[in-house]
Each structure stands twice: as C-alpha cells, then as structure tokens.
Symmetry: D2
Subunit: 409 residues, 4 copies
C-alpha cells in the first residue's frame, strides 16, 4: 500500500537550496514524489512555487518524511488547524508534541496563521487561547500542567531564511561560511561594518566571551568596545570575569603579566585570590563601587550599565557571587539576553556560544571567532542562517576590530 | 638590601627535574642562590639532598620566590608551625591564605607534620584542632566562619611525585606524555593492563564520558565494561545520558542509526523525545525499572549498582531529572567520586574531564583519550603526575580496549 | 549595454544542486537571468531541463559568468565547435586556453562531441586531428610547440557527477562528507565493503600512505592487505618507505620499538642507518632480493609485484635510490597510477594525497582518512564526487579494516 | 658481566636539564650509574662538573647508552681521537658512521679538538686531513668515495645549548615554547624586537613562506618587510610565488579578490593563467623586468636583490621556471640559505619549514608561526634551542609585525 500527501514550497526555492533539500529528503528516506505543479520565477527576483505529491510505503514513513520536509520549509498543501493537547503534568509534554526548529514558524489556529513568538530550537509550542490567541515556545522544563501544546505535524508552517540577494548589507560578505583562506583584515573590516550597521539601526550587540580573550591580551580593547557602546551586553562564565578582574587587581592573567610577559611563574595563586577578594566584597558591582576594581571588561559593564550574565559551570573555581550556578536559571538569563540581541559575537568560547546559540532564532546575525576551526564549524552548523565564521587569533582580532570600529567614529 | 632564606630539597631531586625547576624559578623571578650543601645520591636509587640560600632584593620578591619553590617541592630549612587564622565569614578566607597544589602536602602543627587530607588544587587548608588535630582541604565556597585556615608559607611541605624508577608497573609506559606518534594497539594494550592492575589491587576505575562515545558507536562496548565491573563509576553530563538512552529507545544517536547509518535525517526529534520520556517516568532508575530503558551504559549502571553523576551545563536540553543542575552541588558529587577513584579514564570530554581533574590529587592514575591533541595536552598540563594521554578515535579505542580487557579474563 | 547568452542545464539538475549553484553563480557575479524554458522531471527518476538567458553589463563579465556556469555543468545553448590554437612554444599555451575541471568533459569538434580523455583539473585540452580525432589533457609542462589547444568557452561540455540515487552501492554510505560524529566501526565496515566491491568488479585499489601509518603500528596490517591483493598499488614518499624498512631492520620506527614501546630513546640513528643500508644495496628491490629486507609493506610490494611510486620531497633524508627526486617526473609516475586506480585510499598524508588527488577525475572513488579534520576537509573539498572522509586514528583504522576485509574472505 | 665507561658533564648542567636528561637516559635504557665526582656551581653563574660511571649489562647496551648521552652533551671522560674510515663508494657511508645532531660539535683529531663546520642533523662528519685538518658535515647523498668519515662514538663532543641566563636579549621572551595562552600583541612586539636586534647585529633574516600568507591578505605587508630590508631572503614553494603573482596580475588569490572579497567564484582559472604567463616570459625576473609583474613579494625580491629559493613539490601546478623541481638540488639551495641565516621566520608552511629546519644548527634563532598548534609543536620539537612558537592567524600577524618593525624605524 502506498500513502501520499501534497506539500507546497514557495519563495526562492531553487537558489535557497530548499527544493534540492526536499528532493534529497524524500529520496534519502525511501519515499518518492511527483511534481504536480511548478511555477518557476522567471527572473532572479521572482518567487517560485512547487506542489509535490509525496508518497511512502506506510503512514509512519510518510509522517517521518513530511516531518522532515517541514523542518526544511515545505508545508502541507491542505492545512488544517494545529492539533493542541494539554500538558499532563509540569515538565511533561503530550506524546507526539511538535519540537521546534530555529526558523520563523507559524501555526494555524482557528483557521488563521499566527506567529510563534520567541522561536528557538527544540522547544514545545504553547498556545494561549482566548480572544487574542497567541503562540510561543517553551523549553521542556518550563512546561506547566495544562499548557496547550501543539502536537503532530498539521497546521505548522516553517520558513527557513532565504539566501540574501542583491544589496545584502554587511552580512552578505561571507556566504559559504567559515574559511581560514580569507584575507583577515578585510574580513575584520566587514565585521566592524556589520556592528556599526546594527548599532545605527538601533540594534543591540551581545558579546559571548571566553577566558582566552584575557590571556591573549584583548581585554583592554574589548573593554573599550563596551565603554563606547559597541557592545551592549556580555554573556560569559565565571572564569572570564575572574581573569578580567585578576588583571586589574594583580596585573596578571593566570599568573602571567600580560604586558611584559615577565615572571611567567609568579602569581599562580592570583586567580584564587581574586575570587576571594570579590567574595569578600560581596560581588562585582560592590567591588567596583568600593573602588577595588578599577578597570577592565566587568568594570566597564558596571560603570556603563551594560548588563552581563555569568553562567556557572562545573569547572569553575569559587565561584564569584555574581555567577549563576544553576544551569536552568542560567539558561533563562541567557535566553533573555539572546532574545534581545540583534547581533551576537561569539568570541573564543565553545560552551557559552552553544548555550547562547541554542536560544537564537535563525534570523539573528552571528559572528563566530575562534582559532580552532572545529569550534567555528560546529557553531555554524547549529544553525544561524546569517552566521559567519572566522578562524583567527582572538588576541589580534579584537585589537584590529576595535581599531576599525573606533577609528571610524 | 638583600634578603635571604634557606630552602631544602630532598629525594631524586635531579632526575625528577625538581632541582632544575627550582634553579629556573629563582632565576626567572629575579632572585639568586648559593648551594650551601649538596649531597648527591651516588647510585640511581639513592636520594640526594641540597640546601640552597635563596636571595632577593626585598621581602616581597623573596616571598614570591619561596612560594613558587614550595609549589615545586623545596621547603624552608627551618620550619615553623603553619600559621592559622579563622575565616571571618562564610565563604570568606583570611587574607594571605595558602592556596593548595594537587601534590601530597603536610603542614606543621604543634611541632608535628600532619598530612593534609583530600588534597586537591586551589583549595584552602582547614585545621581542626583538639586532641587529634587534622588538616584537610576546603574549596572556597565551603569555607565557614571560624574555620581555622592556613595562611602564609611557613610550616607547609609539598611533595611533587617523583619520576617512577625500576619496576614502574603498567603506568610507566608512556612517560613523556601525549603523542600521536605511538603505536595505537600497543598503547591500548598497556591501558588495558593498567585497568586490570588497578582492579586486581582492589582499586576503583572512574570513567568520565562525553557524548561522542555514543555517536562514534562505542556505547555497547562501554556498557560491557560497566557490566563486567571494569568501570566502577561514571561521571558524565546530561547529553551523554540522553544520547545513550536515545539509542535504546529509538535506535538512533542524534537521529542517526548507528548501525546501518541509514536515514541520517530521520529522527532529529528523537533527542528531545527521549528527554521527554525520561521526565515522564520520573528519572533514569525509574525508567529502567519500568522496562522503558532496556540497554546501554546508563542501564548497566542502574542494573549493576554502579554510581553515576550527571552534571548539568548551560548547553543541556531538558535536562533529565537525574542531572544535577547546580554547579556547586555537581562539583561536590564529582569531588566525592574523584576522591574514591584510583584510576580515571577521561573519554572525549573536555568540560567534564577538567571538572574531575580539578578534584584529583597528583597521585591518581589518569588516562586521557581524545581525537583533538589540544584537549589531551591541556588536560595533562593540569597536572596528574601519573597521567598518560592518547590521541585517537574514541569509536575505535573503546572496542579495542574492551577486547583487550575482556579477552584476558 | 546589456549582453546575454543562452545556457542549458539538463539531468537531475535540482537534486544535484546544479540549478541552485548556477542561480547563485549568476547572482554572485553580478549578472541576471531569465528562465526561458523549464521542464521539470515529474518523478524522482526523470531528468529535468532548463534554458536560461543570462545577462550581464558587458562582454567580459558575461564571459566570466558563462565560464563559471560551465564549470558547474551549464552549457551554451547554441554550441559551436571548440576553438583550437597551436601552442606557440614548448610549455607555453595560447592565451585564453581552456583550463579543465576534474569532471567528465566533451568538446565539440567538427560538429561532433568527443570525450576528453584522462580528464584532470587545471590542464589544457589538446586535440589530435586527423581521421579519428581525439582530445586529451596535458599539464602545462608537457605542452609542446604546435599542440592544438582548446581556447575560449565555446564547444565544451562539462558533466559534474550527479547525486547517487536508489541502489547506490557501497559508496552511498557517507553522503555529506566528513564527520567525526559517525560510528567508527560501521563506517570502517562500509569502507571494507567498498574495497571488496571494487575488487570484485575487477577494479584496482591504490593506497596513498603517510609515515604515521608506521609509527602508529598499522604496518603489519597494511602489509597483509598488500599481500592478499586488496591493495594493488602504493603511492608514498621516501619517509614512509624508510620507516617501514627501519622496522624490519631494527625493530623500531623513528627509534621506538613499536611493539614493546621500550627504550623510546634508543635508536634515533636507525632512521639514517636504514637509508644508508638500502643505498648500499642499490635499492629496495635489491635489498629484498638479497634477503636484507624480510618483511613489511615495501617487502610485500616487491614480493607480490605491486607497483609503488616513491615521490621525493625537500624534507627527505637520503633519499632512497627508489625515490623519484624530480617533482615533475614524480607527478608523471603518480598520474599514471592515479589513472589506473578505481578506488583510492588516502591514509594520513596531506602532501601525497593532494598530489594524487590532483590527477584524479571526479568519478574515482576516494576514501580519505586522517586524525586531523582539517586535512580530511581540505582533501574532500578538492573534489571527488565520490569521496568520503573519516576522521580517525590510522593506527586503529587499518587493523580494524584489515580484520573486516580479510575475515570476510 | 657488567661493562662501564666514564662520562663527563660540564656547564650549567642542572638548570639546562642536561643532568636530569642524562640520568633519565641511563635509567630508561636499562643501565645504571655512579656519580664519581660532582662539583656544583655554588652560584647561578658558576658552572658545574660531574663525572659519572655508567654501567650496562653488555657492550652493545653500553654503547647505545653512551651514544644517547652523547647526543645530550655528556662526553667520554677519556677521549680518544675520532675513528675515521673512507667511504666505500659514492653515497655509501662506512658501517657504524656517526650521525650528527644539530648541536655544536667537535671531533678529536690528532689529539686536538676541532669544530665540525656547517653542523646540521642526520649527516655524516667528513674530515679533510692535511696540514690544516678540518671537519664538516655531508648529507648522505653528497658523500663521495674515499671521503674520510667519522665512525663510532669516540672522540666526539656535542654541546647542546644552555638555557639563557640573565640578560637574554629578545629571544628570552618565550622560554617554554609554544602557547596559545600568551598575549598576542606583546609577543609580536617581542618578535619585532628580535628582528631588529638581528639586523642591528648585521645578521640576516630568512622568511619561510606558505601560500596562506597570500590568501590571508598578508602579502603587501610582507612585501614591505622585504623592500625595507627586514627580510633578507625568501624560502618558499611554487604555490606561494604563483599566488603572490596572481594577486598582481589579476587582483585575486585563488580566484578571490583579497580586498573586496567580491566574486568569490570568479577567477579560479587565474591561478593556472598566472603560471602560463610567467612561463611565457621565461621566469619571474624576466617578468618583473618586462613590467608584467609590478608588485608583491616576488617583485620586491627581484627589485631589491633579495635572493629567493622556490622549491618544487609534487602538488605543484606548472611549475614556474624558477621552481627547482629536483628535491636534492632544492635541498642544496635551501641549505645554503639556511646556513647564512641568523634568524628564521617560519610562516604558515609545514613542508618548507621542516626542510629549512633540517638544515639549521640548534643555535639559529627560529620563530615559527602557524594557526595550527600541531604544526608549531612539531616544528619546535625538531629542535632549535632558540625557537619560539606562536599560534596565531598569519593574516593578522604579518600586518601587526610590519607595523611594529616599520614604525620603530
């Protein structure tokens, strides 16, 4: 027995790769298809339309295929309303719940398409009904008994971002992702331009920072970018803040004087002493206010009201009183920052970049910089459509970026 | 003005590198020295002794040098008792507190040298006085008001492990650390022998496991090692457990069938569905008992009473009810396992390996396996004296290790 | 002024990505297009056809675009004969000569399409006219004065390989290229199957071997695969052969006993002594025949008449008398092997793999194995359509591969 | 039976690690020792002296140990003259010939110690007797019948460089080798200082250049350093020169415009066209003189009489007429440059850096820069005592270095 369903694709379905992907999905998963309608955009700025009849051996296989097509932007041709079921208990979703992508998504409710707010990957979609029904995402651990949750595949429309065309702005510059074979200075100039564009549009820039920023000597330039307002928010871990403050208190980072390179051995204990001092003061803000901390990235955040999130991890020393030690609470704080960000700079940290990336819709601009190509690749693979990667040394990148951004003022 | 202090070195101070290191420390840090006594071991199994007069320009510099010499096993020639001060508040240590190394350490109390228990890096040393005084380490966040804490440098003796000599057992095989230029099968055979040696001495083996173990197809062989009692404890994260259970529930890992490699696209949602199923059951143990989970590493842990710690992180989905989301609580659980372990296998995880490594004394045997040489190097640099590193594919390593271990029964 | 040209695409132009690529090329390069005809294959096994009118601002830009479309399989709609010009001198090609891709290529000569033989990248196409005209590739340094060389873009048809469909054989298993997130044992089993399939079809397997094969302990298993006929030819460098023979003469590789791991220091000079011994004998074959060399990969090559090419490089010690020190001569020898190969195993060598890869058409099956993901990615990017990459430890890969291949006999 | 021999160590044998290494060598290789005399330098600037009696089970083992001690600077206490034997044929050395280290070496001839000139690794030592006897190294393939070649271990003295003390000059800054955890800008400033120091001492700087220099946009700054005389010689491959010239002829590097990043696809054929143009001209110098090449690194070399060596490899396209295709000839050209260099910058090339490094004595200053930490580690391991490594992006390194060097003029 063969079962079939019609799906539709529209938009720049050829040059976005959507049509290729969908054909591939069907064949990979053992199904077959017939192109029932195909209306190709005659010019590069016209949209195309295709209707496919997808067939499979049984209903389960068909559902798997249609689910996967969904994720890639093909939608059922004869939409019904999304199916809703109440959550049976806190943190427990109904079986067969719909797990989100990070692409813009709508659901059909009462015959109307409504946007799913705060879209991010691997969430449930919750619908608040009533006069002005609306839909939004919830991570599993936030689900409450009775939440109306979308299940199944019907009545859901996903829109993977299309390939930028024509005047693509600053973010058009590195299509095709990562490469260590690009000219570094030109790429940095383009990233600087994208930051300026974001700021001039009134957008917010979030920097996700790893401790290598401090060891590699990029601290002062990063602090300037915070002070001058090119970075609006910081997402980091306990270690980043400790290294930054150690530099202020002792002039070292992990015990090395980052200016003279002198006495590489001296001061290993500075790290733990720094933590102890901040605990004694009660926190970073208190230590800035008391005059104990007088410079650096954290100092500029406090001094200029740039919000920061320090998320804890099991490798932390201390931690500082400001560090959120509970992973779920920390994710909530990260999520809030991520949703406010219009552009995200991921700077030399895998753990924190993945955590932030998990909360981003595919439409947020992302720049990922690391000296390890595997880190950059892995971050880009997770999925922003507007992500660019650069394999470089953070210790030369930040100074050159600061020069570009601040000199053009 | 010049200030001086005498320090002593004893043991195999030449071939352990201790003497070279100490000479280097003094010169790097701007001091000078005179060798006042030197009694070299005439044979390779005789111990040597040296007394150095270390000089510096001022007391602060001298203290820095002596502190650093300390960390490397040189001790003041005229020991006084360690200086103790009460902690002024919870989590607040007295200024100038002594921050530990991971080497065996004694303090001088009331004229007697007593061991510091549960030694690990970057801790305070707390002394309980009374009839039977004893000393032990506390991490900063565990310090309580009134704890008597060692400060300064006096009355502390550190013993970095010496180079193994003569019959070095299985762990002699890879002195000189990591290399990707060693024969893989022979190295694996040596690691297998070290595991057997540890077990035959009644020791406990802790495996620190990253999710790549599951993707790479090593799950079944790792599960066998747990079942057969060669691995006594598991330390991992939420992701490892989810991937392991996903394989049981859906036959996939991150959506790919790990046996047939079929349908690489199907089943991306299996990951989040797995979490949802375990939450529904109430936890891993409950899901094993109800028959929902029937195989795998976590299954064998539950079925054979092998304790596991799942430490949360900000990149987790879910998480599972078993995952300890608070970083400080998770560190405590990790610390307990680490102190019980006689041998630690660090398998394809940076984050969890660092967290476990932070809690280990330098005398614990450590094997670190990763396909990224930077990960192996970084882990070994942190400091076990008995650590060996291997740069290899975890997906071929575990099967070959299991073959070696289980075939020799 | 706008200039235009018609180009045609045919085949599985959507799911092969050809159409997407061509749309992207035109837009990236500042041109525009109109789809004049589009006939989509209704089923997954029907071919499609598209005719595009490509426009650009001037003739130069149009030519650039059409050139690039060409490389990706789009051909001028109104083919003329290819334009031929004689080479003005040895090694000198006419201006505007056509530089080849590695895809199957035809040229139009006297109104007929004829295949270009021995296709490989970055060559000139030479046409021998006469009664039975034929076309073939020549690298620049082989061009002779008077050779008739194809210039311009007209009369050339390139066919990039299509995505495999349906029964894809053993090589379907790893579409999507490299990943370190695949199950290792299953992937190795698939590679074994592909070797067996190649052999059972009467094909030849070429192994490109780096010295890490020997250090990592894979020598004996590789030698078995040569002896048993699963590897027909070896392409390597001087270092590989020296290490292999050192193991035979001294039991060491770079001075380390690869079985006992004993005495890692002893025998550094074995490397240079090995070279000296082989020079004394006059060459590898002579040293095998005299009984000096009694085992190993080179021994099996000589003993079983498997041809080998040892290509010299500037980092060689010695070199051995068998090593071809001239790069151009060595390339010619590599080219001959490459053209005979039906499947190529690239094992832990960047330099030799690139050299061999440069001579392969995109239709040859390639497996690339290295522990460095960057090496695997770079090799696959160069372009075989049937290439699969595996990031693993060569020292565990070869033994497991040999087990798979030889146990299934 | 036990056999013994006395060896002596002198110099800063403790803090250079020599004594530790020698103790380790003896124990690793199964021997034993007695310290017969030990006279320690009392101050940090006094030299020490030790005489060891080394024992082993048999003569062969003893010789192996003494050989290895030799390589590390311990010399027989009762020196005889070196043993000399004539080479039996061209390229054939006597059995048991002495294979060199890269450390300063003397041989005892007729009761006198004479320096071995042009020391480099893995060579034979040839002695010209006569009135003014002298000794020098020859690589195996340069040995001629009748050359008097040193065999055995007697009469040879090796001096591994000692750890720098006190005022160490610019090259003291990065003892301890590579690290990606150093501040990048400060490290670059130190390298700039070392270049200036070398130049002010009348020394010569050799830059070993990989093609990534061009792709990454560092070409113009490198060309300035050549023009301004901070780089005296270039050692590179065919690819480097082609990419450099392509940028001049077509404004692209591997087809990408390195300034605008525009049209990443356009111009893949520029690479092969560039080669063709230079061949047409007859070579790089001719193409500069005819005005075809007007800028870039190769241009500045020709224009400013900075000698360059382009060594061929099997992955070359073309090659250019200037490329030395024979590996042995190329090595000779590299050797000549290497012996003239006082400082070597190894910039993003493994193959050429190893080739140059093979010809360097351990006393030459080496800076090795690469974005891949494995490359840096491997190059430093091969052995210059004055080598420093930096893991960074060559595309940001060269501009920042040029700024440092040229701004301080």
């Amino acid at each position: 027995m063969t079962v079939s369903r019609e799906v539709e694709l529209q938009g720049h379905i050829i040059d976005s790769g959507m049509m290729q992907t969908c054909f591939g999905v069907i064949m990979d998963m053992g199904g077959s298809f017939e192109v029932e309608e195909f209306d190709i955009g005659r010019h590069e700025d016209e949209r195309s339309y295709a209707k496919l009849l997808v067939s499979a051996d049984d209903e389960e296989q068909l559902q798997s295929i249609v689910h996967e097509l969904h994720q890639n932007g093909a939608n059922p041709a004869d939409p019904n309303d999304a199916h809703l079921e109440p959550a049976p208990a806190d943190q427990v979703v109904p079986k067969g719940f719909y797990s989100t992508t990070n692409h813009p998504t709508e659901i059909r409710y009462d015959g109307e398409w409504i946007d799913v707010e705060d879209i991010e990957m691997d969430c449930a979609v919750v619908v608040e009904d009533g006069e002005n029904p609306y839909a939004y995402t919830k991570v599993l651990n936030a689900v409450e008994e009775g939440d109306l949750i979308v299940t199944g595949e019907a009545g859901i429309r996903v829109s993977p971002p299309e390939r930028p065309r024509g005047s693509e702005g600053a973010f058009g510059f590195m299509q095709g992702g990562v490469s260590s074979e690009r000219p570094s200075e030109t790429t940095i100039a383009n990233i600087a331009e994208a930051i300026e564009e974001t700021k001039s549009e009134g957008g917010k820039v979030l920097a996700v920072c790893g401790p290598a920023l401090i060891h590699s000597g990029a601290r002062e330039d990063l602090a300037r970018l915070v002070r001058e307002g090119y970075i609006d928010m910081i997402s980091a871990g306990n270690g980043f803040a400790v290294h930054d403050i150690e530099r202020d208190l002792y002039g070292t980072s992990l015990g090395m004087d980052t200016e003279s390179l002198d006495h590489p051995r001296k001061g290993h204990k500075h790290h733990i002493y720094t933590i102890s001092e901040v605990i004694r003061e009660g926190g970073i803000e208190e230590a800035v206010e008391s005059g104990t901390i007088e410079s650096g990235v954290m100092y500029e955040c406090v001094d200029n009201d740039r919000p920061f999130v320090l998320a804890g991890s099991i490798r932390d020393d201390g931690p500082l009183p400001d560090t959120i030690t509970d992973a779920v609470e920390a994710q909530d704080a990260i999520r809030e920052q991520a949703h406010e960000a219009d552009m995200v700079l991921m700077l030399s940290t895998m753990l924190h970049s993945v955590a932030v990336g998990n909360c981003l819709p595919s439409t947020t601009r992302v720049v990922c910089v690391d000296i390890n190509p595997a880190t950059v690749t892995q971050l880009l693979d997770r999925g922003s459509a507007q992500a660019v990667g650069m394999v470089t040394d953070i210790g030369t990148f930040v100074p050159l970026l600061a020069e570009e951004v601040l000199d053009e003022e």
